[in-house]
């Protein structure tokens, strides 16, 4: 196998007595969509936090394209090609939709110690921003304050912001959470279009979306990765069925 875009080895994170991440060895193949599933409290968000740099692991290592990023701060990881969306919508609510994306574009254009020139009308920022808004279907929302967009549009906006940083790997933390059916379908379509172009690590509860998109799935239970495989292998795995898929039916 070629070098994975993302590889963790022996990742451990404890919160007091709770082991939220327990010896995780995760490989995300370049160009693939890798889904991370597991019941609530399995440690998915903690793991995403460590991958994106907001949480420091107690031990273990994280490599992005072979480069050790275990100690790199959030902004540095983003520069190296790791972009994320948040479980709970995280945007600049008082900026317009275009400015939200333009900020992400700006971050890629080098340092921002530029004090004099008016930035908002700078085509180097707005050009790529408008193209990305169009890519996620928000082209007619550019001038609206981001706070005024619908929930589904917020999630699309977050994807556009992540894409604006020219990522090699997208970490998507429940991009479909709280979405209606129509909005979910649209998000799956958006992610389908990205597939192959950008590697994606997807945390998602929507099993239809996971099985439709993922090349490989890792199942997390109590901080441990109990299984990794293709969607068909995961479906057939007895341990997974017992620990997770069965419980999912109860949750409804």
């Amino acid at each position: 196998m070629a070098e994975p875009i993302l590889a963790t080895r022996g990742l451990i994170k404890r919160f007091g007595g709770l082991v939220a991440t327990d010896q995780i060895d995760l490989d995300v193949a370049a160009g693939s969509v890798h889904a991370l599933i597991g019941p609530n409290g399995a440690g998915k968000t903690t793991l995403i936090g460590q991958l994106s740099g907001e949480i420091r692991p107690d031990s273990g290592s994280i490599r992005l394209e072979g480069r050790d990023i275990t100690a790199a701060p959030v902004h540095k990881r983003c520069r190296l090609g790791l972009a994320r969306s948040f479980q709970i919508t995280s945007i600049f609510p008082d900026f317009t939709a275009r400015e939200n994306v333009a900020m992400a574009v700006q971050s890629r254009l080098g340092h921002s110690f530029r004090f004099w020139r008016r930035a908002k009308s700078d085509p180097a920022r707005t050009g790529p921003a408008d193209a990305l808004l169009a890519e996620v279907g928000l082209e007619d929302r550019g001038n609206m304050p981001a706070a005024a967009l619908s929930h589904g549009e917020h999630r699309q906006l977050e994807i556009a912001m992540a894409l604006a940083t020219a990522p090699r790997l997208l970490l998507l933390d429940e991009p479909m959470a709280g979405m209606g059916v129509e909005e979910s379908v649209r998000m799956v379509e958006t992610l389908q279009r990205l597939k192959g172009r950008i590697s994606i690590l997807l945390v998602e509860h929507d099993m239809d979306a996971v099985f439709a998109l993922a090349d490989r799935i890792t199942v997390l239970v109590y901080g441990r990765a109990i299984a990794t495989g293709t969607p068909a292998e995961i479906r057939a795995n007895q341990e997974v069925r017992a620990a997770y898929l069965g419980a999912d039916e109860e949750e409804g």
Binding site: V74, H75, C78, I91, M103, M161
Partner: protein, 313 residues
């Protein structure tokens, strides 16, 4: 820039400020020039605070410390015979910038109430250093016997000339802040205020930009301190007492946080109210307090928010 009613009001406001010395002469009230010089100087301080408070969301409760740092720089240099303004004023700015860099690097690691408290703590520290500076008057302050001199280019002791110098500095400051908040740098500061976690997640190391803004604001306020000491021919620790920092915050909130001219208007309205109300009653704060409360409750964006003229930004 679109011409909105708001802009017209601010234009008239600046025009009125430009006419103050003429008006004072017509009314034969030279005291007005002195009063308004002081107002303009404090407006320079409030406008600088607005950069970090209004645009950056950094509630510094120690901003008046720079008035003291700038003022003491001028005072101590004058005490030792250096009265050249080209040395005094840039040094006042430089030392303020240095202080802001060190203190900002520490304070900006905290957020919210902790940031308010730690900026206050540092300012009180410097305040008590000022009180303990017995060699330079301590509590009683330091009289500056020789005014700063800019190689004779400006008649510093001529009140209208000094007024126009201060007014010009305020105008230049507002222009610079205007450019800054609309630049890439300014957008980073505002993005960090809006959602700092998101700003980092899209690859912007916000800390260094916030620190830079903190230093710019401190530098401008240090300049205001130099101006204040020069105008009064005197500097004392009282200018950096925490209540003075509070006054600066009140001025910014009154005028409108994150509006370009708001804090300047706020300062002048605040000081005029103080002037008028305190001539009526000794307990003027009893009247001013509720007024401020009403404004904060019903006009969150201060005076600026009361003016018609569409969105800001």
């Amino acid at each position: 820039m679109r011409v909105t009613p708001r802009l017209v009001v601010y234009g008239l406001f600046m025009l009125a400020l430009a006419m103050v010395p003429t008006l004072a002469q017509v009314l034969a009230e030279p005291f007005l020039v002195t009063l308004f010089t002081r107002m303009i100087i404090l407006a320079v301080a409030a406008v600088s605070l607005n950069l970090i408070l209004g645009y950056g969301g950094m509630v510094s409760f120690g901003h008046a410390v720079y008035l003291g740092i700038g003022g003491y720089t001028v005072g101590i240099l004058a005490e030792h015979g250096t009265t050249n303004g080209f040395v005094q004023w840039p040094l006042a700015i430089g030392i303020s910038a240095l202080y802001a860099t060190v203190v900002g690097a520490i304070c900006l690691r905290t957020r919210g109430v902790y940031f308010i408290m730690i900026t206050l703590a540092f300012a009180q520290l410097v305040y008590f250093v000022g009180v303990g500076l017995y060699a330079y008057g301590g509590d009683d302050g330091l009289t500056i016997y020789t005014r700063s001199d800019f190689a004779g280019l400006i008649r510093m002791s001529h009140k209208p000339s000094f007024y126009y110098l201060c007014f010009a500095i305020l105008c230049i400051e507002i222009l610079i802040i205007h450019r800054i908040v609309h630049s890439r740098f300014g957008l980073v500061i505002r993005a960090s205020k809006s959602n700092d976690r998101r700003a980092n997640a899209i690859g912007i190391p916000t800390f260094r930009y916030r620190l830079a803004a903190f230093v710019i604001a401190g530098s401008f306020c240090g300049l205001a301190g130099a101006m204040l000491a020069t105008q009064a021919d005197y500097i004392s620790p009282a200018v950096m007492h925490w209540t003075r920092s509070g006054d600066l915050i009140v001025s910014v909130v009154l005028g409108g946080m994150g509006s370009l001219f708001g804090p300047a208007v706020g300062t002048i309205v605040f000081l005029l109210l103080e002037e008028v109300l305190s001539s009526l009653t000794e307990y003027w704060q009893l009247v001013f307090g509720p007024m401020l409360l009403l404004l904060v409750l019903f006009a969150k964006r201060g005076i600026d928010g009361l003016l018609p003229g569409g969105d800001r930004g």
